[in-house]
């Protein structure tokens, strides 16, 4: 398995896109921090951009990478290797290079300007989100045979998680505003890893007051250790479940 991971990572690193992504994150975070005199405000600005960029790059790059590695995968499958090993190596290679790019590009500036618990939380969530969206990309790529369709599905998934889901939640919130749905909102937020990540960081920033009564309910839940533990667990599920489903599919796929 180690050998295949090695070749995947070498191949990804040879790709200039990864370098460009790292540099882009680096320039972005450094400029945001230097624009704001208050680094906490800078962190908030960075959060909003990262929640858009990181999932987008993770999911699109990984999907395209899987399709472009079709030959590589075909070559490996006819060799004495387990299919599970091949797929897990692709996942590990992609996830570790996406995480590394995030750590270098956004992690270092955050550590320079805001090396406290909020900063660490943000780096951790960023890394987990990178892995989550690589995992979702793998599932999208294994389910659809056609490259254009697969990339389309990946873009739609990103749109869903970063825009449509929030619209949907707002709609529900307004429709049921006469009922006490705040507790339900906690459960609903578990359905979207991006929302979960955003809430966890915002609560660490102590700006939850901005979120009104729902914010208070969130604080009651996510503020506790059990709530925090549960949300991390759900985030990890978001990383593990799609890749597990994709392995099951890949094992029976005809190449």
């Amino acid at each position: 398995m180690k050998k295949v991971i090695k070749y995947v990572i070498i191949d990804i690193l040879r790709n200039k896109i990864m370098l460009a992504y790292t540099l882009f994150l680096l320039v972005l975070s450094l400029s945001i921090f230097s624009l704001e005199d208050n680094s906490a405000k800078g962190l908030l600005g960075l959060l909003n951009i990262i929640l858009i960029i990181v999932p987008l790059v993770s999911i699109i790059f990984s999907t395209i990478y899987i399709y472009n590695s079709a030959e590589f995968i075909e070559l490996l499958v006819s060799q004495p290797l387990q299919r599970k090993t091949i797929w897990m190596s692709l996942f590990t290679g992609l996830a570790s290079s996406m995480s590394l790019a995030f750590l270098v590009g956004a992690g270092i500036p955050v550590l320079i300007y805001q090396a406290d618990i909020t900063g660490f939380m943000m780096i951790l969530i960023g890394v987990i989100l990178s892995v989550v969206f690589v995992s979702i990309a793998l599932l999208a790529a294994v389910k659809t045979r056609d490259k254009a369709k697969g990339i389309g599905v990946a873009i739609l998934l990103w749109l869903y998680f970063s825009l449509l889901f929030d619209g949907f939640v707002l709609f529900l919130l307004f429709q049921f505003s006469d009922y006490p749905v705040e507790k339900l909102m906690v459960a609903v937020s578990m359905l979207n890893p991006l929302d979960l990540g955003r809430i966890m960081i915002l609560l660490k920033m102590d700006v939850s007051a901005l979120m009104g009564y729902t914010g208070a309910v969130f604080k009651d839940f996510f503020g506790t250790q059990a709530g925090m533990g549960l949300s991390f667990f759900v985030l990890l599920l978001w990383a593990v479940v799609p890749v597990w489903l994709s392995i099951r599919r890949f094992k029976h796929k005809d190449l």
């Binding site: 191949d11 030959e71 590589f72 006819s78 060799q79 005809d254």
Partner: protein
């Protein structure tokens, strides 16, 4: 050595393999012959586990291949269309395969074909810049590289120049004499004449016959394989 039992595989509504059963033993050189789309490549891919069959099973040395993967270290496979990572060089592909297969089995590498095809000076060329024939040479070199007990060659000489296909044919004969099992598909029947000992003829995923060459010549009265097969096809 390789036994297929009632293997069926459907692509959509089309049967690529239909209740296909066949036994291949050591030391045989078997030609898989049939019209286009008769399921030859699908059969090869099911042996390699690249295509998972819908029903039936295949055993390799007596054990079911379904949940096994180590048996593939005993097979050298030359695909019909060799597809390799485009931005790797020939040398990198060879090194990668050596690296991946090394731990599976410690064996002596057979670099005959690399030398005979004169691939050494091309080692730094990227796969995407190669011609179809050179790609085919790389595929062949890879299939023979690990001294496998079973060689599966899907249209090995398609795209090769006469000199190279002669080199490949001689190599195949040499390996056959070492007691290996060789499975070949080809549409150029005339060049199979001095290679094969048995013929599997299939049509629409169904096994039509599996005979030795001597039996086939006896049945059809034709000495040449091409004529014998033509005789069979006309009769149908």
């Amino acid at each position: 050595m390789i036994i297929a039992n009632n293997v069926s595989k459907k692509f959509g509504s089309l049967f690529a393999l239909n209740d296909f059963s066949v036994t291949c033993n050591k030391g045989e050189c078997i030609a898989l012959i049939g019209p286009n789309g008769s399921g030859k490549t699908t059969f090869i891919k099911t042996i390699l586990g690249m295509v998972v069959c819908d029903s039936g099973f295949i055993t390799f040395n007596g054990s079911n291949i379904k949940n096994d993967w180590q048996y593939r270290s005993r097979i050298g496979y030359m695909p019909q269309i060799g597809r390799y990572p485009e931005n790797m060089t020939i040398g990198q592909v060879l090194d990668m395969m050596k690296d991946i297969r090394k731990s599976a089995q410690q064996q002596i590498l057979d670099e005959d074909l690399i030398n005979l095809f004169n691939l050494k000076p091309l080692m730094n060329k990227r796969m995407r810049t190669l011609s179809g024939g050179t790609r085919q040479k790389v595929s062949a070199a890879l299939a023979f590289l690990f001294n496998p007990e079973v060689l599966i060659l899907d249209e090995p000489t398609a795209g090769l120049d006469p000199v190279s296909s002669e080199i490949l044919k001689e190599k195949i004969i040499a390996e056959k004499q070492k007691g290996k099992l060789v499975l070949i598909t080809s549409h150029i029947l005339s060049e199979l004449d001095d290679l094969v000992t048995q013929v599997i003829y299939m049509q629409d995923g169904i096994l039509c016959f599996h005979k030795t060459i001597s039996q086939l010549t006896e049945d059809t009265g034709q000495a040449k394989l091409a004529k014998a097969i033509a005789h069979v096809m006309q009769k149908q």
